[in-house]
């Protein structure tokens, strides 16, 4: 709605309709129309990106996103951190460092910026395994989106997923949280390798 209104007020402004066009890859989330728009808007710098993947040519992050997700290779999963959490994360980088590393119009495999409610959407990093890959997030974020998280987890057939996701009280290093994940039997551990 906001974007539509913005476009009506200023047809040459930052919000533009993007025709999806022909589907190139349904799993990764790639469309011909989107790619063409991207190529033009980035002045030829990028010719494609994947909407549903964090590992393979993900979306860029402007740096003002609510959360940043990062791959945690040892845990075979991903973490996400919200802007309000200023502490260290298991990726070895704080939110600000992450934003600085990946933001500003570059596509950085292994990292993607997103909104808080994105996490509970069905298409959230679907190509990489979706919500079941989530192994760590700050406690405050877990509490904030708790109900939605639970609903989506139940839909996925793992109703107690929320309790399996580690937070800063468990640890902020991969070694610490992997022990926790093993103990809880987190589904990510038995999924195919996140990085080939």
């Amino acid at each position: 709605m906001d974007c539509k209104a913005s476009y009506e007020i200023n047809p040459t402004g930052p919000n533009q309709p993007v025709p999806k066009g022909e589907t190139i890859d349904a799993k990764l989330g790639q469309w011909k129309g989107v790619n063409e728009f991207l190529f033009k808007a980035s002045r030829g710098k990028f010719d494609h990106y994947n909407s549903y993947s964090l590992v393979n040519d993900p979306m860029t992050t402007c740096g003002c996103c609510e959360c940043i997700a990062a791959v945690l290779p040892l845990c075979n999963g991903i973490m996400t951190v919200n802007r309000e959490y200023t502490g260290m994360t298991p990726s070895g980088m704080k939110f600000t460092t992450l934003a600085g590393t990946i933001g500003g119009g570059i596509s950085t495999p292994g990292f993607v910026g997103h909104g808080k409610y994105n996490i509970c959407q069905r298409k959230f990093i679907r190509a990489d395994g979706g919500l079941l890959r989530m192994v760590w997030m700050p406690k405050m974020l877990k509490e904030e989106i708790g109900d939605r998280l639970k609903a989506r987890a139940t839909e996925l057939g793992v109703p107690n997923l929320v309790d399996m996701i580690a937070d800063e009280t468990v640890g902020t290093s991969e070694e610490e949280i992997i022990a926790f994940l093993t103990e809880k039997g987190h589904p990510a551990l038995t999924m195919p390798p996140i990085i080939e």
Binding site: L74, M88, S91, G92, M93, P109, G110, F111, S173, E174
Partner: protein
Amino acid sequence: MALTGIQIFKLLPKTNCGKCGVPTCLAFAMNLAAGKVELIACPFVSEESKAQLAEASAPPIRPVTIGTGTGAFKVGGETVMFRHEKKFENPTGIAMLVTDTMPESEVAARIERFNKNVYVRVGVKLHADAVAVKSESDNAAKFGKLVETVTKATEGGLILMSENPEVLAAGLKICATRKPLIYAATKANAAAVAQLAKEHSCPVAVKGASLEEIAELTAVMNQAGIKDIVIDAGARTVKQAFQDEIIIRGAALQKKFKPLGYPTITFPCEMTANPLKEALIASMFVAKYAGIVVLSDLKGEVLFPLLVERLNIFTDPQRPLATTPGIYEINNPNENSPVLITTNFSLTYFIVSGEIETSKVPSYLLIMDTEGLSVLTAWAAGKFGADLMAAFVKKSGIGDKVKTRRLIIPGYSASESGGLEEDLKGWEILVGPREGSLIPAFLRNLKNQDKK
């Protein structure tokens, strides 16, 4: 070129040992990908990974070092077409020509100018980099003698110019240990010059009539095992030489065309006889995109503007110029001298230190690390507050150098004085002037008050 953080991560030990300074291998890989750290920081990376990473992260334009010790300079290694995209890496080398048909007095005068014209500006030493020694007589003995004279008279880099391998050999015999640039390998002499370069392990310049010929020549050199190559595209008209520079840089960076992925050498000295025009042409090549410019002579009025231009173009636009933090002694201070504090933005430092010098009042100047921000900016960014200043003053060791406990802070930081009095117990905090130009009066006034 650029590997992504994830690709680099796969080649790292994946132990999250933290020895490199960041907590995880992933964070280290991201820093590597961004070019913020060197691979050497990881003590456990395997030799195999090292080779793979070095290959993959090799810059599209090879960095080439000419000369040794204090006279060494590096050219090439560029990664962008435009400075604002990231930064230009290695400043264009400025070289001065001498030939073996010049009168000895002229050679001596030029070398003297080369050695003497050194300028210090914003804390950086600016000077020319190399002497290009050219054989015009094609006489090996004569060339050898000139090379010997130049080698003895200067510590700068050397460029040996002849297309006759025998003449080049005579020069190399004398100065090979100084790693001169051998100029030039052409289609006619490529094998012999490659042999010389290999034998003495010196960088070599290739000269061709066209870019195609250059690409063939660099491939020949590569096959001979020579990697340190500099390109002379041959043109001696400004238009053509300029065009070649653009094409070479573009081909190497945008098309990843390896045979042209080397720094270039240009010869403004062979493009005009007018010294003023020559300087103008050189200034153009400093900006676009020469690795080395060779000028006929380096008179101060030509060299200084070129050096300043080069300084401006090759500074990193993403980082403000910063001065090393620490204690600076101005006008021979003693234990009773006042202590001033300011930020490490270079301009701030130079203005403040200059004004203190003018005051002739012996003083200590504390320069605090504010990441190169000026006083107000640093204060607004929370990098120049009372708590940080107090911690810095305590850690700096200034307390052992002076008996007085009096700290002068910039006028624009006046609001921090109360906090400082709390955090720096035992120190008297004085608010100095807002403008640097008022510092001399302030310091002299302070001194007179003390006398009374």
